[in-house]
């Protein structure tokens, strides 16, 4: 089996689920003939036809609303946002309708809304955001954010089979940069379970998305200095694998959270509160965080570089923490 990129893994997940389950339909802008702005749906129109690969007018609130309605008719829609930033245009349907539907009248919404997020490609303020916390903060939604091709495929398949609305964030910088060989047999990755990417005894780095790669790179460097960092890839942000984080902190006694999301209101705050509540006695030092800035994502290359957390920021914070 040849190695596949993350975006190819996503296409495989969509293809396999559509093959397996005729109720799975795709809906979005430019996903048909064009195959999606990032080619995640390439070839699927030819294979499954226009009734299952639905190209819509530009209308995020309309298409997410329609997808919710379809889900009431036994369909499992997977909606693509051309850039996840534009989910803001469908925000109402997500947080007021999809999120609350089951709670209010027992109507499950087996919907996936997926799209490219994240910076590092000079996309500027409207094509680079990490909006995960908008949705983590809306009870009723699940939020996944893979960092490997294997997880992207396995998590997306689980999300499609899940009876709840799931927001799937796909870091566009990783789409073609991570590559790996995938099992030839069918597999899924469960929602709500983190992965230990690298075991270590000295401190825990909890992270996800593109920052998982930066954190692993930092861990390599730290190892040369004799600091063994355990790197946790959260993979699902809601429901959060709190136990997995606690287990690691009990072992290392130190926690650094790294995310590309802006600092204030990022998931680091929620994780710090959880560890505070459940493992305070196990901590040997302050919980630190490395995040992007509390600003919009700027365009000019030097500004964007300053905005994004760099490997050096992670090693610096880890060294500081290791001193405790």
């Amino acid at each position: 089996m040849a190695p596949v990129t993350m975006v190819e893994a996503i296409r495989e997940a969509l293809d396999e689920e559509m093959q397996r389950d005729p109720t799975v339909v795709l809906i979005g802008e430019d996903i048909g003939v064009y195959g999606g702005a990032f080619k995640a749906t390439e070839g699927l129109l030819a294979k499954y036809g226009w009734e299952r690969v639905i190209d819509t007018p530009i209308s995020e609130t309309g298409l997410i609303g329609a997808a919710i309605g379809m889900s009431y008719q036994g369909l499992r829609p997977v909606a693509e946002m051309q850039f996840i930033d534009f989910i803001a245009c469908g925000f109402n349907q997500m947080v007021n309708f999809a999120a609350k539907s089951h709670y209010r009248w027992g109507g499950p919404v087996p919907l996936v809304v997926r799209g490219p997020c994240g910076g590092g490609v000079h996309g500027g303020p409207f094509h680079s955001q990490n909006p995960e916390m908008w949705f983590v903060h809306a009870p009723g939604l699940k939020v996944i954010y893979p960092s490997t091709a294997y997880d992207a495929k396995g998590l997306l398949k689980s999300a499609i089979r899940d009876n709840n609305p799931v927001v799937c964030l796909e870091h566009k910088f990783l789409y073609r940069r991570v590559k790996e060989e995938l099992p030839s047999e069918e597999y899924t990755v469960p929602l709500g379970k983190l992965a230990v990417r690298r075991p270590g005894r000295d401190l825990t780095i909890a992270t996800y998305g593109a920052m998982a790669l930066n954190s692993l790179e930092a861990a390599e460097e730290l190892a040369k200095e004799g600091i063994e960092a355990e790197v946790l890839d959260l993979r699902t942000l809601m429901p959060l694998d709190r136990q997995g984080i606690i287990d690691s902190v009990r072992k290392t006694n130190k926690l650094l959270v790294v995310h590309e999301d802006v600092r204030s209101g990022g998931i680091a705050g929620e994780i710090a509160a959880t560890v505070n509540e459940q493992a305070f006695e196990d901590l040997d030092g302050p919980i630190l965080r490395v995040t992007s800035l509390d600003t919009p994502v700027p365009f000019a290359p030097p500004l964007e570089e300053r905005f994004l957390p760099q490997v050096a920021d992670i090693t610096r914070a880890a060294r500081e923490l290791a001193r405790y």
């Binding site: 930033d85 534009f86 094509h127 000019a300 500004l303």
Partner: protein
Amino acid sequence: MATKVNRATAVGETSASRLSPELLLGLYRMMVKCRMCDEKARILFRQGKYAGNFYSNVGQEAGEVGAAYSLRDDDWVAPSHRDWTSNIIKRAPLKYCFAQLYGKADSPDRGKSTPAHMGYPELHVITPASTIAAQLMIGTGVAWGLRRQGKDSVVVSFCGDGATSIGWFHEALNFAGVHQLPMIYVVQNNLWAESVPLRLQTALKNLSDRAKGHGIAGVSVDGNDILDVYEAATAAIARARNGEGPTVLECKTYRWYGHSEIDPAKYRMKEEVEEWKRKDPIPRFEKYLAEHKLLDDEQKKQVRDEITREIDEAVEFAEKSPYPAPEEALEHVWA
């Protein structure tokens, strides 16, 4: 208001005779300037001179220039992603327009936003948000504000055919209709929203018909005929200034290149592109001007030479301008 479509290709017999030679040549020069700047922006992107992306307006200059050329300094423009040249038409110095592409410290936003999402506060060009159609309601609010201050300024907004599917488009028209606001909604119907053809966007034939549902004026013109656009826009602007309410002005046109510089546009038929290139608004207008003895080959060359010099200087300025310092990323979050 009558809907005119697909007028004969001969331009402007009816009203152009009333327009002064200065104005006609001014319109011409501005179309050529927009075309040349846009082509230069594409080349620079392909040469890797700047990051991000660029959305070419080539082919659509007649609508772009015809609708905004005669705006006063105190009038406003609300452009979309494809209207970087709106800044040029509002007389922004070219050096700043190119500095914007490069994300340099001398651009109006000091590198904060992407190349094509350029605004120019002093010239009343609103910074476009990437979210399609968002600028329409913003422009409509500006129109409200202008009238509230007792001004007779107007707002010209631009959007594409695709934008007319979005709720905000309709919310803007509705609000402007209720309050008879001084708005001109120019719809540059280039037949495609990225890869989606018009027939998958709407069941309408004329996008100006969208105005009917909101009780406001709507007119469709040949968007590759500068005089047709100019005439309709001038009438709409005059009505808006007089407190007679908003207008939807559909310009039927075509974008020559891909949606953006990274789109090879394989979803379109070559024949369609060729057909529209034959309707290029610039040679069409040149023919008209030549027939009226207003333009000869010598003058054509002179116009292009002048603009080339201006562009060369602007590009040199943009390249020499420094990048903003990294710490500037933290500035300007709060007012």
